[in-house]
Amino acid sequence: MNAMKIITTIIITAALFCATGCKKDSDFLNVQPTSILTNEQAFSDPAQVLSILADLYNRQLDFSSLDDGWVTFADFSESFPSENGQAGIVQRTQWDFGSWSTWDYGYIRDLNLFLERCTEAKALSDGDKTRFLAEARFLRANYYFEMTKRMGGVPLILKSLQYDFKGDPTYLQTARAKESEMYDFIISEAEAIKGSLPADVNEKSRASKGAALAMEARAALYAGSIAKHGVSTPLVTLPGGEVGIPADMATGYYTKALNAAKEIINGAAGAYALYNKKPDLQDNFANIFLDKGNNPETIWIEDFKLKSGRVHGFTVSTQPRYGAEEEEGGRMNPSLNLVESFEKLDNTYAPIPVTDALGNPIYYNDQLDIFAGRDARLGGTVILPGSLFKGRKVDIWAGYQLADGSIVTGDDRGAQKTLPGTSTPVQVVGFDGPINAKEFTAQSGFYLRKYVDPTPGAGSRGTNSEVPLVRYRYAEVLLNAAEAAFELGQTTDAANYMNMVRTRAGLTIPLTAADITFDRIVHERRVELAFEGHILFDMKRWRLAHVVWDGNKMTVTDLLSNIGQATKRNTQPWGLWPYKLYDPSSPNNGKWTYKIVLPALVTGANRFRLGNYYSFIDDNTRANNPKIVKQPNQ
């Protein structure tokens, strides 16, 4: 009995062992983690893929971005940075060779991996897959474009690289492509994917056919102008073509730019149009950047959304400070250099009239009168002294001028002093300044309006703003078309495209074909696209950067002469300060007069060296990959 029991136990135990031991060890140990998705799982559901793609969208690079502070908007003498910690922008005498460089091959690798994994995915429908792949290719081409603008030709890596850990990485080393090959790649990618993207004017934050064509037009235009204008800077080339494009390729690129732009203009990519919804042309222009509902002008944007965590504090940094929520703002002060370059309504250039023909100061009844009769984009881009923001007048005035020409002013916002002949102290300087070296006041006499959000709460840190960053918009497409047409000798078409943009700005006298000059094109882009991250790249591709920012300080004569000329020096941001006349015996008492000033903190002068045309490639990068040639003139 006892023995029986023992035998039974042994048999059962043996049986149990056999049963459990049947499962292979490898199966038993190989447990799928529950917190990590495999590639196949990750690419099994369209919503899942879109969230991967969203990360890739987020990693796009912009020259100036709203969620990256305001400083990226502030350089190039187009504005004065009114924050003392950033005074270096107007005090340095040159840019580092490393400025504006980018080398994010981690991002390129992730894009390549996405393309490879999405191609392999089995569970996605063909329609979804085509669109996702086209979007990733668009992002990759657009980032390569961004790299090319800054670095010239870079290694063109189109598949994910894998190291074999055998100690010799030379097979992974790729030399820099030619600059022309980079642009060829961007153009051919745009052509290849445009049919796979929706031709929908309301698709703004994801890639659309319009976005691909806008990228193509801009890239081809850049390539064409580098080919054409590179002739003037023979030093800015490399023998291998990594930097510089041969002049005979210019026509081909301009033709491609014009064709791509025309495809958008003739409606093939959706019903894009210039924004024209508000009767007041200044408000209308400002609204291009604020209006998110059915805005026909914007083509591709970086979007933000309130209460989602994805908001930005650009308005907090740049709104008029006086009366603002939390009394913060005022950091961007557009310069007089930019303000005076907005044309008069008769299509002529003129300085802001501070004095009459005899040199006597002019007195104005209203602060805004001095700016009357100009391009509506001036008031749409810049908050002028005496104009309204959120229905409240900005308080920009520098002090009282007395009959003998002396000035009564204060050194704090809204400071009070007693005027001669009176006994009660009165306010002698605006609550928005301008006061030299008093940060957050309008030290140039102006505030920025473009992108500044008047929505209640947008200026408070706890709420912030959801105004989108415009990456491509229809007006730029028109100007791209105008420039390409002009360079191809089609001046009538160029004039038509320019006039469309100008009419919207209130410049109703059309330019004729004979009026279109290179200077006109340069000027139009500067005023239309101010503070949209174009000026550096435009000046670079026209090879004007070392001429415009030549490191010489500006005199008042420099400032007031040659307005509208492409080669005009622009090395220091000047200001225009309003003063109120206090002279009870004069008929002009209480009227406004203006003075041209160089803000006291401006001590440097922008100097763009030939070595700045293409940003420095890190020594470490070049040591790791000896095939990478150095940039010229560094």
Binding site: L235, P239, G551, N552, K553, D619, N620, R622, P626, K630
Partner: protein
Amino acid sequence: MKIACFYIALLLVMITGFSCKKDNYSGPGSTLTGRLVYKGDAINVEYNQVPFEVYQYGFGKTGPITGTFAQDGSYSLLLFNGDYHFTVPNGQGPFKWKQTAAGTPDTTAITMSGNQSLDLEVTPYYMVRSAQITAASGKVSGSCKIEKIITDASAKDIEAVRLYINKTQFVSGSDNIALTTIAGSSVTDFNNVNISVTIPALVPSQNYIFARIGIKIAGVEDMIFSPLVKLSL
């Protein structure tokens, strides 16, 4: 207490024992100095604008030790003893650095063992000769002779002649309080160039001023200057 003392003593012995040699290297101790010269005459350039590169091979990654020439064309480097290659990157400086047959900048081999002085012979496009700069009645006046050195196919024109003045010893396009420019095309006699500039108000006032004459060569970024002079007012 006894144990604590023992540990402290041991720690002291360890610190003194370990920190004396192996992991401490002495810094570079050999100074390399020199000037940019053309036939013995110093070449004056803009401060901090004309770079040079020094390479030392044999230590894995290759990257340059970079520096810039001073206003009077001088340079100095503190190096370890060893073999170096000295070069000026392409397109830098108002002069021609010697080139290889392939058209890339050639290098000068330098062997450091102790301090060394090495003048670098280069060929400038132009030289400013016998510059006379004087200050009188609120003006600085200068005269000089401009000698064209490179006259072959790679010769360049003069874009402009400029007289700069500054309150400090740094005098150039980016450091000046006043300048006068004469376009190269309007200079009639390069053997006798006269140029003058009005001295603006000096705030705070000082009784001296620095000046030099610079030549901007067409198609060359860096300017060449006359020697710096300090003028008493």
